[in-house]
Symmetry: C2
Subunit: 196 residues, 2 copies
DNA sequence: GTCTATAGTATGATAGAC
DNA sequence: GTCTATCATACTATAGAC
């Protein structure tokens, strides 16, 4: 941490704070305090709070790309790779119970504020959507691939929202099982169709 | 509007503003301005901003109870009544595209802020969940009724979140069709089971 | 690259006149 | 029940010393 330069530490810390408490709740002073620098120093790196937000979104875009590339490398089949997406709900369950989905909660907040950065934040959703669409195509879902991708993305959002509201980890596990069964059904269907 | 007393006008206006812009973004001054009263007058009715929030949640609880009672009166079968729930996504689509789900977005925000009112806000979710559970039981879903209720609630949240982020009305309609097909399948299953 | 000092504004909340 | 006046605090953002 101390080896990194101040700019990176600001973005990293702001990313965490925006996620945990929401963009509107976190002031420039909160970020500076957490990084243990002064507000003046923070302003040297980012002129406004919105500039920090842009950098945070950029960071999240990059990390999402890395994660998708990793799944691409690890999963042998499309079903396995989609399974990696489903499993982030389990992997990140502790944080989701407390703060929800980082992408979903940010987009919701920015949409309410009619904030210009919503367009950029949405690109993270689009990254997932396009990647999932490609996986469903490989699974043999054809023209339904985009709808399936959106459906799965929506599923992850709804599950995160209710899990956070009710602070219920059991619910996450139940929903993951349910959607994995749905995916298994789709896989068979896809296989059947290709054999015809 | 002008016939109503000031207190009611404050709660009604705050309800709308909190929904449209988020609780954290709306100040006491914003509410007073919108109601066209002074801050001092607002403070006479509600000592703190949190007190306004409590009243808003209470109002939403009441309106939700009324809506569920209405659906209970209108729908002849359990499937029809569950259909009424699904249809709110269509009914409220314009507002959902702009501001998301009023219950979901409030609970998400309060959870992030670790706000004491989260418990009360969650009760609105619980109203829906318990009502849906009862409907699924009447549909013959037995022990799966609660899981189905939570699944449907999560579906509504995920659909609202993505529809808001992408400002995509077509997506809402596609998801409504999809979940209605799921519901129709469940209804048949339930009927079969009862006939055994 | 980091700091202090400060301007200007908005906030939540209170006291007291009418 | 409604208003004005006011306090103490917190905010974003800027200017300029080191």
């Amino acid at each position: 941490m101390s080896a990194k330069n101040t700019r990176d530490r600001i973005v990293e810390t702001a990313d965490r704070l925006f996620y945990e408490k929401g963009f509107e709740y976190i002031s420039v002073g909160d970020i500076a305090d957490a990084v243990e620098i002064t507000r003046g120093n923070l302003t040297f790196h980012f002129k406004t709070r919105d500039d920090v937000l842009e950098a945070v979104i950029e960071r999240r875009m990059g990390r999402t790309r890395d994660m998708l590339a990793q799944w691409e490398k690890e999963g042998c089949t499309a079903a396995e790779r989609i399974g990696s997406f489903i499993n982030i709900l389990i992997m990140n369950r502790t944080k989701i119970l407390l703060h929800g989905c980082p992408v979903g909660t940010l987009c919701t907040e920015l949409a309410k504020l009619e904030h210009a950065a919503l367009t950029n934040a949405n690109r993270i959703f689009s990254l997932f959507r396009d990647w999932l669409k490609s996986q469903f195509e490989q699974l043999g879902c054809g023209g339904e691939s985009k709808a399936h991708a959106m459906h799965l993305l929506a599923w992850s959002q709804g599950t995160a929202t209710l899990a956070q509201a009710f602070r219920d980890e059991t619910f996450i596990r139940a929903e993951v099982s349910r959607v994995q069964a749905w995916l298994a059904g789709l896989g068979k269907q896809g296989t059947r169709r290709r054999k015809r």
